[in-house]
Every structure is written in C-alpha cells, then in structure tokens.
C-alpha cells in the first residue's frame, strides 16, 4: 500500500482515468481501508489549509467546523458534483474514475461534523459519473450504517450553488434561494447542511490517510496541495489534468500537448473567472492566492485558450448570452442587467453598435454587482469587466467603426 504518489498525482494516482471507475476492492487494495479519525479530523483539515475546490475557495476545515458547531448529530453532508460550469469536466471525471475517494471524503466529513445522512449530488447529464457513483454507493451498502443516496442535479449553470443544491433536494426547484437562512444553519430537511465539492472531499480522503503535513508537501507557492484543472480550447489535448499549485500556465499547456495556434487570451477560472492576456501566458502561476493578488481567479480550475484569430468581442458576447440564459430569473438586476449586457455585446460583436453601448456595458457591469439573490450576476459582470479591459482595443473598434479586425470567416470562432 505504499504507493509513491508524485506531487502532481494524488487524486488521479492509480489506474488511468480511461480505465473507468475504480472498484471498492481495488480502491481499498491501493489506499487501504477508510480511516476513522472522528471529530478530531476537523482540526487536521484545518491545519492542512485545504481550500474548497468548488470555485469559491473557502477553507474547508472552517466550513466543517461551522456545520459541526450547529449539527447536534443531525447534519447532512452533500457531496456537490453538480459542476454547472459547462466547460469544466474535472468533477465528473473524478467521480467517474475515483468514486470511492469521493465517498470516503463524504463519510469522513459526515463523521467529523456529526451528520446522519450523505447525499451525492451529480449533474444529470454526466452519465458516467452518475453510474460510477451509483455503483460505488451500492458497493458500500453493507459497510456503512449511514444512508447514502444519489440525487441527479438539473442541467444548469447555477445548479452547484449551495442554496440551489438544498432547494432542489428539498423541492425539485433548482433555483438559488434567499439567504438567510444559510445551508449550514437550515438546509436539507431544515438541518445544518454541509455542501462540499467532490474534489475537496477526495482531497480530504487523502489527508485522512497521509496527514496534513503530507498535504503541504505539494504546492510551489503560498497555496499547498494539488488541484484538478480542465484545459480546453486551442489546445492539442484538451481534458482534465492534476497539477501542483504554482505550476505555470506554460507548463500546463506544454503537458497538454501545446497550443494549436497563437493564443489571444486565456479564460481562467471559468465564466466566474476572467480573461488573462496572452502576454502573461508563460508566467501565470496557477495558485489561487497569487492569482487573486493579480485580480484574477483560480475558480473551478477551468482554463480556456482563445485562439489568436478569434474576436474577443464575439467570445465575450457568446459567454454573456450563455450567462444571461442561465439566470434563474428571480431578480430584476440579473434578468434585465444580464439581458441588456448580452444583447449589447452581441450588437457590438455584429458590428451594429448603437451610441453609448460601450459606456453602458461598463456602467451596467458595475451597477449589478452584489445586487442579485446569488452571485451569478457578479460572475457575469466580472467577466465582462475583465473582457472590456483585455480586449479594449477590439471593443473600441467595434463601437467606433462598427467592424471587426478579424477575418469575417474566423471572427465568430471562439475558444
């Protein structure tokens, strides 16, 4: 059982991902049985500094502590594998290949916070992940006293948002709800609920076996550990990779076979992240703390390479249209704000800008931040603000001269 785990192969160590779901027998043979550290485990997780992998990057230990304080043995743990971000595939890949690592993490969390139920929440369209988790749950049936069930999440961008998760499990309505009450206070069945990303849980499962000191041996910069990332767009081998925090973007691109063409810009962190200019490409360290320091975001580890002949305005218009479409339509600023931003960027992209469009975009993006019932409009606004900066010359051209600098045929191609 002493598998030498290289610093960048922890979650994905073991059989190749293509081999499919690792069975309980193989998982136990490779990593040993599920450790049972109990409530002391929260301190271990806190010491490790493990950050959530759902996109918000909260300290996992602190989150567990907050639920444990309220649980009184009646909490619920939800393993959040909804993965609403459309081009991110790390969570579904993890669940499809290492379902038992995820279940280990969920059970460890359950005993640490004092939960009496585990729910595995998987995106309904991620069939391989659903099948793998379902089978894994059945394999565990006799081994655990704790009820574990699988719930398929609706296909929507906001699906993974904590209050949306709880709302869907409770009522079949997958829209975010007003907070208070927060899921940690009143969630599933009115009980304190821990909604934790599946990758975070898998990391915790390894920490339980090897310790928090071990966890800190990976990571070149301020943030310790490894993370799953999805690289897509103009890349030779798009897909999911596990990297050590601090790996540079250039290294990751090389590991994925290199870019297929010149790169215009990189979308970092998904639609909740933002654009990084191509010039920074080589130097960008993929470390949440360092990225935040430069105003960027690691987010859910999505890295999208935008080809050089693409039009940044079109790429932005397409994303804004998607984000507007994914609004839960519960709040005016989101409905009207995102709608207006999407329509205006499309107009700009198509070369039919109206006077004041560019100014309006900047104004609206600033105006809607923090004014939705959830953070969906914030993500869209942040993305637009970043795009207006990175692609400023493109946007100016589209506004002033109502034309695109890219060849018409390729102008609409986006990452």
């Amino acid at each position: 059982m002493s598998v030498v785990v290289t610093s960048a192969e922890r979650l994905l160590a073991g059989p190749p991902v293509e081999a499919g779901a690792e069975s309980l027998a193989a998982h136990t043979a490779r990593l040993g049985p599920l450790p049972r550290p109990g409530t002391d485990f929260i301190a271990v997780v806190e010491r490790s500094g493990l950050l959530g992998r759902g996109g918000a990057g909260f300290l996992v230990g602190r989150k567990w502590r907050a639920v444990a304080d309220r649980a009184a043995g009646r909490a619920v743990v939800v393993a959040n594998g909804a993965e609403g971000e459309p081009r991110s595939s790390k969570d579904r890949t993890l669940m499809a290949a290492r379902p038992h690592l995820v279940l280990d993490g969920a059970l460890l969390a359950a005993s640490a916070v004092g939960a009496e139920e585990v729910i595995v929440y998987v995106g309904a369209d991620h069939r391989a992940a659903v099948a793998a988790m379902q089978r894994a749950i059945e394999e565990r049936d006799s081994a655990t006293r704790l009820p574990i069930r699988l719930v398929e999440a609706p296909v929507a961008y906001v699906s993974g948002e904590s209050s949306a998760v709880v709302n869907f499990i409770e009522s079949g309505d997958g829209r975010p709800t007003a907070s208070p009450p927060h899921p940690r206070d009143r969630g599933v069945a009115g009980r304190p609920t821990l909604v934790q990303n599946v990758e975070s849980l898998a990391q915790a499962a390894l920490i339980a076996r090897y310790g928090d000191d071990w966890y800190a041996t990976a990571g070149r910069g301020p943030t310790s550990g490894t993370a799953l990332v999805t690289i897509s767009g103009a890349i030779a081998r798009p897909g999911v990779h596990e990297i050590e925090y601090g790996t540079t973007l250039a290294e990751l691109v090389a590991a994925a076979g290199g870019a297929t063409t010149d790169i215009e810009a990189v979308l970092l962190g998904g639609y909740f992240g933002g654009w990084v200019g191509a010039d920074d490409l080589r130097e960008v360290p993929l470390d949440p703390a360092l990225l935040a320091g430069r105003g960027a975001s690691f987010g859910c580890g999505l890295i999208g390479l935008l080809p050089g002949d693409s039009c940044g305005v079109w790429a932005t218009a397409r994303i804004m249209t998607y984000m507007a479409g994914e609004s839960a339509r519960q709040c005016g600023p989101c409905i009207f704000g995102l709608g207006a931003m999407a329509e205006t960027t499309r107009r700009l992209a198509a070369g039919s800008a109206a006077d004041g469009d560019l100014d309006n975009l900047a104004r609206w993006a600033a105006q809607i931040v923090g004014r939705g019932g959830c953070h969906h409009p914030d993500g869209a606004a942040g993305l637009l603000t970043g795009a207006l900066s990175i692609f400023s010359s493109e946007f100016e051209l589209h506004q002033r001269e109502r034309r695109c600098s890219r060849q018409p045929a390729t102008a609409r191609r986006v990452a």
């Binding site: 500094g49 950050l51 959530g52 759902g54 996109g55 918000a56 990057g57 909260f58 300290l59 602190r62 502590r65 907050a66 959040n80 609403g84 906001v158 948002e161 904590s162 209050s163 975010p176 709800t177 007003a178 907070s179 208070p180 927060h182 899921p183 940690r184 909604v195 990303n197 943030t223 962190g269 909740f272 949440p288 703390a289 990225l291 935040a292 320091g293 105003g295 960027a296 975001s297 690691f298 987010g299 519960q330 709040c331 005016g332 600023p333 009207f336 704000g337 207006a340 609206w364 105006q367 809607i368 923090g370 004014r371 939705g372 019932g373 959830c374 953070h375 914030d378 993500g379 942040g382």
Partner: protein, 93 residues
C-alpha cells in the same frame, strides 16, 4: 452600532416605492430596481427608512443591525488569500 437596510433580492419586484420614500438611502437602477446605499443609516433618517420598509408591497426590505448583519454576511470561512474569489463565485450564499 446602528441599523441599515437589507433587501431580499428574490422577493423584490422593482416597485420602486422604497426609493420614493427614502431617496437619501435608496436609488433605482436603469430598470427600476433598488440600489441600497452602504453604511449605517443616520438617526434622523431612520423614520424614512422605516416607512420605506413598510411601503414595500412584497415585504422585501427590512432593517438589520449593522454589526450582526456584517458578521453573518462574512460566512464561516474568511478568505485565505483568495480575496478576489470569495466575493464573486457561485457556491457562496
């Protein structure tokens, strides 16, 4: 210690009467939805704030204690060098 307005954005339907009642603290965006001014409400304006809360046909507004409201909004996990992320990303409510 003081009070400020808090709004349930999902309940809010953009009637905009709150901004009419309390223009010093509430203004409307391009689509008629309220933008709340940050910070504690000065004592002399509290009666107007209360009337704004009363007039809302959908009960979307309420007055909250500034100190308590700020603490609960911050959540259990303070950002650990991820300042830019915590305020923007999806799983936080």
């Amino acid at each position: 210690m003081g009070e400020r307005l808090a709004i349930d954005r999902i309940r809010c339907d953009g009637y905009g009467m709150c901004a009419e009642m309390f223009p010093e603290g509430i203004e409307l965006d391009d689509w008629g939805y309220p933008i709340l001014r940050a910070g504690t409400i000065p004592d002399r304006l509290l009666p107007l704030a209360r009337r704004a809360v009363e007039v809302c046909p959908v009960l979307a507004l309420r007055l909250v204690d500034t100190l308590i409201a700020n603490r609960s909004a911050a959540g259990p996990a303070q950002t650990a060098g991820t300042a830019g992320i915590g305020s923007r990303t999806g799983s936080r409510t």
